[in-house]
Symmetry: C2
Subunit: 104 residues, 2 copies
């Protein structure tokens, strides 16, 4: 879907890496949440709490997933899953627009 | 208010200046809309359609408003108004989180 309806949006941005990564938190009526985020070129390591589905809406990046020794190329229209309590690293090649769904 | 409830959020980001400025569109039940945006350091000129209220939630910038020859300093917690069909320029000093309300 191209938009989320009947949701709550937290006004303040979540800001990481000097603002090179920023996101907005969206909460759904069923208690679930997602972030809509934007990453500028660079390399960033994230730690997960809950497991996540990272949907890349636009952009080009490589991702190093936990337990993998091989970088994977991901482009707009593709997704990847990250397990709970894990670490993953992305190398952003072109500005990347993403939607992160938290699985609880 | 710290969050917006019962709103529609457009999933894809609005992207300007190679992603150094990005925003998300929020639509309200009354037909009004706002964008929640993030600007990295740099100088950016924008053209307005509708008149806008720019609420700076965090960050430091200077703004040159239409009809003014003097730059104005704006910091987190402050706002400025921009008329319809006008142009304004911001010099972002530190990454800036904003909420732009469109007046129709």
């Amino acid at each position: 879907m191209s938009e989320f309806t009947n949701v709550t949006v937290v006004k303040k941005a979540n800001v990481y890496f000097d603002g090179n990564v920023s996101s907005r938190t969206i909460r759904f009526a069923d208690g679930s949440s997602k972030t809509l985020g934007f990453m500028l070129p660079g390399e960033y390591t994230f730690n997960t709490g809950a497991a996540e589905i990272m949907e890349i809406m636009a952009g080009d990046l490589d991702v190093l997933l936990p337990g993998s020794e091989q970088w994977q190329t991901v482009t707009g229209g593709e997704s990847f899953d990250v397990p709970a309590n894990a670490q993953f690293t992305v190398k952003i090649r072109t500005a990347t627009d993403y939607c992160c769904s938290f699985l609880s």
